[in-house]
């Protein structure tokens, strides 16, 4: 029973640590966004990186995705989905962004 108890404490502290990490990252993002304004050079980049970090923190602490042997199936699924998503999103932004630029060029000429 003590074993169970210790395990519970460990798992609970894992959730709480995850929460605190995520909260800190959120606070930092909103803090620098508020202080400098997201349009300041590099500030938006920093906010983006913080967002990415928070994604990883939540996946690790809340969803328990890691590189242990038995999580592999989910990790594979997530990685494949990420690849497809990146193709779709970057492709869309590339194609329509390019089109947009060319349309504006046309208007200026």
């Amino acid at each position: 029973m003590d074993d169970k108890h210790a395990e519970h404490a460990r798992e609970r502290s894992r959730y709480i640590r995850g929460f605190l990490f995520a909260l800190a990252l959120t606070l930092t993002a909103f803090g620098i966004g508020h202080l400098y304004g997201p349009q300041t050079p590099y500030v938006y980049l920093a906010i983006g990186v913080l967002g990415l970090l928070q994604l990883i923190v939540q996946l690790a602490y809340f969803l328990h995705i890691d590189r242990r042997r038995d999580s592999r199936e989910d990790l594979d699924l997530i990685l494949f989905s990420t690849m497809v998503l990146l193709i779709i999103i970057l492709g869309t932004v590339w194609i329509l962004g390019d089109l947009h630029m060319r349309m504006q060029m046309g208007m200026q000429m």
Partner: protein, 696 residues
């Protein structure tokens, strides 16, 4: 209309019936429209009459509509696909006739012709090809991996319900109101509220959204089934080729159906709520739609053709009496095609106006797909090489496919070059190309599959002679219809034109309509084949279940299979598990023991959701808001109530399984084995004598 009527009926009125148009303005166009509606109504009436006359309602309800058995759901998918195929082919014939009636305006009005090509495309892709493929996967895949059902049987039933209700919307649009005139792609702004305020595009949107949800659920179901429910010993590299194509096809469904849903729902937001995603004004961008649609559209063609490749792989191996050549390379090629298909969508809109670099990148990516496809073609040919080939009906479809599909594929490589695409896009060359890949690629595979697996599903073989006649008609009809279109396309005839003036098109148009009539005969010959086979079923019975000397697990069980598929789950030791078992003499052995088998109970939730989602779509199309809201709540409640059910399974006791299985084993023991020479003879009761020395 009064305010009360508007609240009650939305924009629905008597004018929505085609009869109203005929009375107001009699002419060929209205006669054709009314004839189509009349065929539909009469057909439905005949079905209702037959069901009542032969007192089949109870059987239909208990054994089919409420069934969660993957085999029955698969069969219902395929029946639905055949019904829709009949309409699609008829529409194709009418369109060919209209164009052959030129030069000039033909006998249809432009709007009617536009509805024809819109419904033809929508039906053939979403309500023929998809349900055909999903139906085959449903029936075959669990049997091939040695499972008793799919992972989520009730969800499977709901998928069928949603697919059918989407298809029914197309049937309803024939009789009430009109369908979209925007083609199967429904590009805005033409389909937006500003240019198309009628009900047509709304029918398209909701049919696509609802059936799309059904297909997505199927994809999830199949992927999870293969991941989690394979028989012991069935590692991934021992999966039958068809199942590999199912994995890839499911992945494509899971990731490619959402873009279609997004495109259609945003178009709905534009039309119903005055959003500005794709409008001409206030920052809307219709190119976003083209991008979204083809993010779906390209993977879509591969999600259809990959399972077709899977069927051909099974057919070539079985009827060459050889192991499939280059299994590993076929697996890699299938995976490559699946991944590459996500990287080529832009080739559907090379002419949109983006820079040459982007066109070049997507053009090259498109050409790359020819490599894994070529690998497959060589693998199939090498499978036949030095095999003991039997020219059975599925094999004839397969050979027709190999030759014709290579031509279609080559015209695709030509189109992948953006500079050539600029010349021929939006011409009949393109129409010829995609029919050239979809007919031999997908439809022939489906017909081959019907001939191949029909004995497994129903316990008797299809008539061989009528099968051969239909192969000949389909192949010849295909050549006559679509080869001329390559030429007129190159001569500059635009697709989707209801009239034309250049007299040099005429011979091609006439050849094409003759071809279309031959295809129609092909379709009729399939029906005749069914009729003749059912009539003569006593001479063609194959109760043992292995009429073709099959290689995979579905042939190791009785035909038709029992509800639980396998009395005892098979232990797999090799690829082509059943061929290996027959070689090593471990087929048809008496198992050491039996267990109770749990199967899902019948449920009416799929049927209820089918009907309600149909009403829901109709209400939305005609702006009957109270009904739409009420049905939404009803559907939600039904699902919630269903989640409270706890006893969802029936147990088949081990004793019953034992009795049934051992009765079948006794039948096997007293059935004479037949050689491949007698494959088509009444002597073939489904017990094959292995004659493949050295071939495995």
């Amino acid at each position: 209309m009064s305010a009360f009527e508007t609240t009650l009926f939305g924009r629905l009125s008597w004018d929505a019936l085609p009869l109203a148009a005929l009375l107001k303005n009699p002419g060929t166009n209205e006669i054709v429209a009314n004839a189509a509606g009349a065929i539909l109504v009469l057909g439905a009436a005949v079905v209702l009459f037959v069901l009542s006359y032969f007192r089949l309602w109870g059987v239909l309800w208990r054994d089919w509509l409420t069934s969660t058995d993957h085999k029955k759901l698969g069969i219902m998918y395929i029946v639905f696909a055949l019904v829709m195929l009949a309409r699609g082919v008829l529409e194709g014939v009418v369109m060919r006739a209209q164009q052959a009636a030129g030069p000039g305006d033909g006998f249809l009005e432009a709007g009617h012709f536009a509805q024809l090509f819109s419904t033809h495309g929508t039906i053939m892709i979403f309500f023929v090809a998809v349900p055909f493929v999903v139906g085959f996967i449903n029936f075959i895949m669990p049997l091939q991996i040695g499972a008793r059902d799919v992972a989520f049987p009730v969800m499977n039933q709901i998928s069928l319900g949603l697919t059918v209700s989407g298809g029914m919307m197309l049937m309803v649009s024939l009789v009430v109101g009109e369908f979209s005139t925007g083609g199967w792609t429904a590009y805005p702004p033409y389909t937006g509220a500003a240019f198309n305020p009628g009900v047509g595009p709304d029918y398209w949107i909701w049919a696509i959204v609802v059936s799309g949800i059904g297909t997505t659920l199927s994809g999830i179901n199949f992927a999870v089934t293969i991941y989690k429910m394979r028989a012991p010993g069935m590692g991934f590299m021992r999966l039958p080729m068809f199942c590999w194509t199912v994995i890839c096809s499911s992945i494509l469904i899971i990731f490619a159906m959402p873009p279609l849903g997004v495109a259609a729902l945003l178009l709905a937001a534009d039309r119903y709520l005055d959003f500005h995603f794709f409008t001409n004004d206030l920052g809307g961008n219709m190119m976003n739609y083209a991008n979204l649609f083809w993010l779906f559209g390209h993977p879509e063609v591969y999600l259809l053709v990959l399972p077709a490749y899977g069927i051909y792989s099974e057919v070539f191996a079985t009827f060459s009496a050889k192991k499939l050549y280059g299994y590993v390379s076929l697996v890699i090629a299938t995976m490559s095609i699946a991944v590459l298909s996500f990287t080529v969508w832009l080739h559907h809109f090379f002419t949109m106006g983006q820079s040459a670099l982007i066109n070049a990148v997507f053009g090259v990516a498109t050409m790359l797909i020819a490599i894994p496809t070529g690998v497959k073609v060589y693998d199939w040919m090498a499978t036949m090489y030095r095999g003991r080939i039997r020219l059975s009906v599925p094999m004839l479809y397969g050979i027709g496919f190999l030759i014709l599909f290579v031509i279609g594929g080559l015209s695709g490589v030509i189109l992948a070059n953006p500079t050539i695409d600029f010349q021929v896009h939006n011409t009949l060359f393109l129409v010829a190309h995609f029919h050239n890949v979809l007919l031999p690629g997908v439809l022939f595979a489906m017909l081959a599959g019907v001939n191949y697996w029909f004995p497994k599903a129903f316990g008797f073989r299809l008539n061989e002679r009528w099968g051969r006649i239909s192969v000949a008609l389909w192949v010849v009809g295909f050549l006559f219809t679509f080869m001329p279109l390559y030429f007129v396309g190159l001569m500059g005839m635009p697709r989707r034109s209801f009239n034309w003036e250049d007299p040099s098109f005429q011979p091609y148009m006439i050849a094409a309509v003759i071809g279309a009539l031959i295809i129609l005969c092909g379709l009729l010959s399939v029906l005749v084949q069914l009729y003749v086979s059912i009539r003569d079923r006593a001479q063609n019975r194959v109760p043992v279940g292995d009429p073709w000397d099959g290689r995979t697990l579905e042939w190791s069980i009785p035909a038709p299979p029992p509800a639980y598929n396998f009395a005892v789950l098979p232990q797999v030791r090799d690829r082509d598990a059943f061929a290996e078992a027959k070689e090593s003499g471990t087929a048809y052995l008496k198992p050491t023991g039996y267990d109770d088998i749990e199967l899902p109970k019948n449920t009416s939730i799929g049927f209820l959701l089918c009907v309600l989602s149909g009403v829901w779509m109709f209400a939305l199309v005609w702006w009957i808001w109270w009904l739409a809201l009420g049905v939404t709540v009803a559907m939600l409640l039904i699902v919630i109530v269903w989640t409270f059910a706890t006893e969802t399974e029936v147990v088949i006791p081990a004793a019953q399984v034992k009795a049934e299985h051992e009765a079948w084993l006794a039948l096997v023991a007293r059935t004479p084995a037949v050689d491949r020479d007698d494959e088509a003879a009444p002597a073939n009761l489904g017990y094959a004598r292995p004659d493949m020395e050295g071939a495995t």
